[in-house]
């Protein structure tokens, strides 16, 4: 009798523990939803990870143009072999922040698809300063958070004895990006001293274009 009762009371017990509105269907939905949720988070982690890679970023030809100087930089081939890939610097830490950054970064994709022909090295180079300014803003806003993933101010010894001292004393209250804003990609002056005409002229000379071509390209875009 007792055994029988136990068998018959078992489902009763669960019903007793859970609120009445959790029916069997709801329970299934919850389990499936939960697993799907975990799956989605795992997917995001993987997705963020994949979309932060150099291989993914450079599937757009325009990004290949930014990657070129990076591949000659110390961040690409450091003596230690610790390589920072695109997302290590340009995508925040944490799945939600990373997803958000990718979401915002989606505008680059939209511009790539529907905007100017950024695959053209001249157009790309002419627009490069704006990207640099935006990236610097982003680093500044984050207090150079992505730099600090790897770099610890107190641990910057440098090659000269004073490098550590400078970082600990003179740069104590500074964020990495305030000084190191021409580190990896093509050098662009600070926004304060940037001169559009001089930049255009440099690109024209670099690509053997006639004087005034750059301005014409930019004017035509508007």
């Amino acid at each position: 009798m007792q055994v029988k009762m136990l068998v018959t009371r078992k489902p009763m017990k669960i019903n007793n523990l859970l609120p009445a509105f959790i029916t069997r269907h709801v329970l299934f939905a919850l389990i499936i939803g939960g697993v799907a949720g975990i799956g989605f988070i795992l997917f995001l982690i993987e997705f963020d990870h994949f979309t932060s890679s150099e291989a993914f970023c450079t599937t757009c030809h325009s990004m290949e143009l930014s990657a070129e100087p990076y591949r000659n930089s110390v961040h690409y081939k450091p003596a230690s072999g610790v390589r920072a890939s695109c997302g290590d610097c340009h995508v925040s830490e944490g799945v939600f922040a990373a997803t958000w950054d990718h979401f915002i970064g989606g505008k680059d994709l939209i511009r790539q698809l529907f905007g100017e022909n950024y695959d053209d090295p001249v157009v790309n180079a002419l627009h490069h300063p704006e990207s640099a300014f935006a990236a610097r803003e982003w680093f500044k806003k984050n207090d150079s958070a992505t730099c600090k993933r790897c770099h610890v101010k107190e641990a910057i010894f440098g090659k000269r004895p004073d490098t550590q001292q400078i970082h600990l004393e003179d740069a104590k209250d500074k964020s990495c990006i305030e000084c190191h804003y021409n580190l990896v990609h093509r050098k662009v002056p600070h926004k304060k001293t940037f001169k559009r005409e001089a930049w255009n002229r440099m690109i024209e000379e670099e690509f053997g274009l006639e004087k005034g071509t750059a301005k014409k390209i930019l004017d035509d875009e508007e």
Partner: protein, 508 residues
Amino acid sequence: MKPSRQISLSTLTIIVGLLSMLLINTTAMAAKVTLNPESWGSEEGKACIDCHSKASAGLTHQWKNSAHAQANVNCLDCHQAYEDDVDAIEHEGSVIATIVSPKDCGRCHETELKQQQGSVHTQALSIIKNRMPALSEHFGSPTINDAGCAKCHGSKVLVRGDGTLDPATWPNSGIGRINPDGSVGSCSSCHGRHQFSKAQAREPSACIYCHSGPDSPDKEIYTTSKHGMMFDAHKSEMNMGSDQWIAGKDYSAAPTCVTCHMGAAGKMKSNHDVGMRDSWNLNAAVSEQQYLVIFEDGSKRELSTSDPLPRKGESINKLDGGMGKVKAVASPKRRRQAMTSVCLECHSKGFANNAMQQFDNVVELFNKKYGEPAQAIMQELYSEKVLTPLPFDEPVEITYWKLWHNSGTLARHGAAMTSPSMTWKGMNDVGSNFYGKFLGQVRDATGKERGDALIKKYVNDSEHHDWLNHPDKANPILGFGKGKDEETSVSESEDAGENAGDEKANED
């Protein structure tokens, strides 16, 4: 009693001290910096020092030992720039420029800037802009121009679109440098940064940095002159670091380059227009005496005595291509007087004038004997199309260039600065070049007949080369008449003597 007496003594010392400071100030120091000291010592600039004493300890140390540091002039006072300056860069929150141009220095050193602008030094690049590439690029490549020529003559500094300075044109502290801000020259050519020591700039080595070597052999000349000899021996008595540095007053052991070419001497004031006291253009195929034309806007140019003499108020071409109204003209004679007045601090008038006469004679000799005929022959070769217009593609062009530009300069500068050995070496090289190489190469280029005719016209028919017309005139310097020939020639001459004697006897 005792303390009060001490006080009165110290008060007296202070008064005397103040008076003497005032006296010194009114003589040579006062004109140096005319800006209010409140305009320097930028607060923002003080922060530079802390980091730079670590990041670039050497230059910060130099600055710390400078008069600038003593006067609280800091990094930013000189390096500050406006955002829209061509070469402005952002650096640690400040807007600065790497290059401190004469215009920047002139914010305080107004007098020096005025004197320097338009001086022959500022034209070091512009007056040879055609010559320089021909030499450096034909004999080397633009690379040698950047690392050699332009280091003294100056580069035209280019700022690239990314804010960096074109590495072909910077670093450069050439004295005729064309700066991004449009000003010309570089104070740090002579005043090594960042200490800007007076003593260092007064050293001959400050000038020798450029004035040495084959085409500007002033080091070689000065060090083998009596002046250089005296400087070497008495360097410690030169009072080189003195604020006031008047020859004959603050020092008398020896003149350096600065003393004669720009220094204060007696009533003659110091002047950053270095060529002002020069009356000849010695670095030319043929030297001419030079007027110094000063324009209303402060710029200057030289004109040869063969050019029409400009009058005051007249508008003539300036070196930059524009027109300028003539404010004053200094004649070569006046310029010579200025130079000679320095000599008079140590020499008598007669002594100085005679030395100048000896110098002028050498220049005239070079002109007449070598400069003019060689130039005339070259012009004929070009007009007859024996030579291509391209410089240095024919051997005779290189020979001719070295004749006046290297050896000729050594001889003429040697005479100007009284180095007997270099004057002779120069003229000896000119002669060896002319007779031993140049004339032969002219014949090679034209063919013997035409060559002989040209040489007869410009060389043999000139009194300076008359010795060429007497090929039989014997001299044993090269061994003519030695050995077997010597015996015969001796016996011949003995015979001749005997015969002559016989004749005489016969006559008797």
